[in-house]
Amino acid sequence: MKYNVEVIVSYKKGVLDPQSAAISGAISSLGYQNIENLTISKKFNFQISGREKKEVEEQVESLCRKLLANPVIENYQYIIGEEK
């Protein structure tokens, strides 16, 4: 069985995100005064094959922890859907 996976990795609350700060600055100097609370996250999409969802879930979880996110400063969440 093949599953479509989407993982979102974003900074934890309270961690300085210099990139978002710089982009927010650029946006307001471009004249958009009505935009606020900009955050940036990384989105990963991939396909994974496995016998059952539970097994796949474990793999995705460990992949997030080991590679895709840095648990010291980042949170991650994922959605696993069956491929149509």
Binding site: K12, G14, V15, L16, D17, P18, A21, N70, V72, I73
Partner: protein, 575 residues
């Protein structure tokens, strides 16, 4: 509350003796904010309670010393009014937790130390130790550290002109990341980290103050907003772009006559910089935390005082200069806030939301910590190892040579330093790959040679003589490249000093370093101590990293390492 007292001071990292001293100094019980401020400033990292006495062995004076230990960085006289500003600092623990950010913020911190003196940073070096690379975690640590150093220094545009990487299992649990920076200043324009002059204004400039880096050990952290999913990171994230702006703005203020003192915010954030500046000036400070530009809502006084958010500086400015200072920071899109003033109370007084939240005698919190005098005992292994004889040497020279040049401790380091911009600035006259790095001084024919070095086996096997040998090696490196060595900075990376054997080694090797420096006339102008580099299964070898600077009058006469042509004669010099 009362029955929790013991727990409170322990959580703040203090001993009973220290707590009693605080009671004595204050004449009352400290409140939680005060206790946690004492906790961080009386930590080993800030107070040097285990090493203060030992550091006295170092020769710190000499005809070239303009500024010895005690300021943000040391300064040597390079002739014709030129100040050579340099220092080394460790970021070992943060790098073990988060290699990329830990190493990056280590670079950020040492660079701020240099430009807070009014000097323009012109070169970086780094000294790295990891466990062997056959372990995946060590590869992960090393990759992250090298990238962190590179990304931060490259963005700042400061060339990284040298360093060293060494692998040994004793660093499996405690990698070492030491960063050194060199800056240049006109001696009469040196700025100091001092708060003086009643009524002068204290300004906090640069990045916002967030909840990052607030020490988990601090007893109050249990009271932080409960939010389990988002555990507060004790690791800070660096923003080299912000630092670059801060650097340029501070450089523009070098000539400003109203600036009285400057210091960067490093470990223990506002607490340490405010208290230290006041202590150097023999003054008091009144701080109004409502004026601090914070990153998050509802921060407590304690969080603001302990935050280790990066890329911030503290300025003390005469009132009539405040607008001008603000204007310079505004030009660079930076915030500069007036957060307090200098007083003659001899105390750090902290106001928040209209209330006096804390009041601590400056002298007590900065210099009052009871110094430790741990037991010493010569480690048994020293005798035993001394008796070992070399194993039979392999006689197949081709094989030996192949093994040697492919050893991870000997092979080329190009894969490390090619990640660092070592040419930016148009001054690098000796690049990584040579015996030492060197940057020329624009407008003159002079250049400064730099090296960081430590072979930990020497002090491990023979603490005293090994300490000497580490200094000698740096000295030889500089001399070989044509430089007159002038002075050193050092980063003492050691295991837990409370174990008698460790303390013995620490003391002996410091004595050895001191002896060599005295003999060679290379005084010590500053440094850094990192103790407790010890894990469950391993403890590091004594690793006193020496950063040495030297001068050459004509950079065209620098000697590079490579063989220059066929038929040249090779000499082996020495005994």
């Amino acid at each position: 509350m009362l029955q929790n007292k013991t727990e409170n001071y322990k959580l703040a990292g203090l001993t009973e003796e220290e707590y009693k001293k605080i009671l004595e100094d204050l004449g009352r019980e400290p409140n939680p904010l005060e206790l946690s401020m004492y906790g961080v400033l009386w930590s080993e990292h800030c107070s040097y309670k285990h090493t203060k006495k030992l550091l006295k062995y170092f020769p710190t004076e000499g005809e070239r010393v303009v500024q010895g230990p005690g300021e943000n960085a040391g300064v040597l006289d390079g002739g014709e009014g030129l100040g050579i500003v340099f220092k080394i600092e460790s970021h070992n623990h943060p790098s073990a937790v988060e290699p990329y950010q830990g190493a990056a913020t280590g670079v950020g911190g040492i660079v701020r130390d240099i430009f807070s003196m009014g000097a323009r940073p012109v070169a970086l070096l780094n000294s790295l130790r990891f466990g062997p690379l056959d372990k995946q975690r060590n590869r992960y640590l090393m990759t992250g550290v090298v990238k962190g150093i590179g990304d931060y220094g490259n963005c700042l545009g400061i060339p990284d002109v040298g360093g060293e990487v060494y692998f040994h299992p004793c660093y499996n649990e405690n990698p070492l990341v030491n960063a050194m920076c060199l800056g240049l200043v006109q001696i009469d324009k040196i700025k100091k980290g001092v708060a003086q002059g009643v009524g002068n204004v204290v300004m906090l400039v640069g990045a916002t103050t967030g909840r990052d880096g607030i020490k988990g050990a601090s007893f109050a952290s249990a009271n932080l907003e409960e939010d389990n999913e988002d555990k507060r990171p004790s690791v800070q994230v660096g923003d080299p772009f912000m630092e670059k702006l801060l650097l340029e703005a501070c450089m523009e203020l070098v000539d400003n006559p109203y600036v009285v003192g400057v210091q960067d915010l490093g470990a223990a954030g506002l607490t340490s910089s405010a208290c230290e500046m006041a202590a150097r000036g023999g003054s008091g400070l009144e701080l109004d935390l409502d004026k601090v530009h914070v990153r998050e809502k509802d921060m407590s006084a304690m969080e603001i005082m302990l935050s280790e958010s990066q890329e911030r500086m503290l300025y003390v400015v005469e009132p009539q200069g405040v607008e001008e200072v603000k204007k310079v920071f505004r030009k660079w899109d930076l915030e500069a806030r007036e957060i307090g003033k200098v007083t003659d109370s001899g105390k750090i007084e902290i106001y928040y939301q209209g209330k006096l939240e804390g009041s601590i005698p400056t002298k007590s919190i900065v210099d009052g910590v009871p110094l430790r005098n741990p037991l010493r005992e010569k480690p048994k292994y020293i005798e035993e190892k001394g008796k070992e004889t070399p194993k039979d040497l392999e006689l197949n020279y081709n094989e030996v040579l192949r093994k040697l040049i492919s050893d991870e401790n000997i092979c080329s380091r190009k894969w490390v330093y090619s990640c660092y911009d070592y040419m930016v600035g148009n001054n690098t006259v000796l690049r990584p790959g040579d015996t030492v790095g060197a940057v020329r001084i624009q407008g003159t024919t002079k250049a400064i040679g730099l090296t960081v070095d430590c072979n930990p086996l020497y002090p491990y096997l023979e603490p005293y003589h090994g300490g000497k040998m580490v200094v000698l090696e740096s000295y030889r490196n500089l001399v070989a490249a044509g430089f007159q060595p002038l002075g050193i900075t050092n980063c003492l990376n050691y295991p837990n000093p409370e174990e008698p054997e460790n303390y013995y080694v620490l003391e002996q090797s410091i004595k050895g370093i001191a002896e060599a420096c005295r003999e060679l006339n290379t005084p010590v102008t500053g440094g850094n101590v990192s103790l407790y580099n010890q894990g469950v299964d391993t403890k590091i070898y004594p690793t006193p990293v020496i950063g040495m600077v030297g001068l050459i009058e004509d950079y065209n006469k620098c000697v590079t390492t490579s063989f220059k042509g066929e038929g040249e004669v090779i000499y082996l010099v020495g005994e």
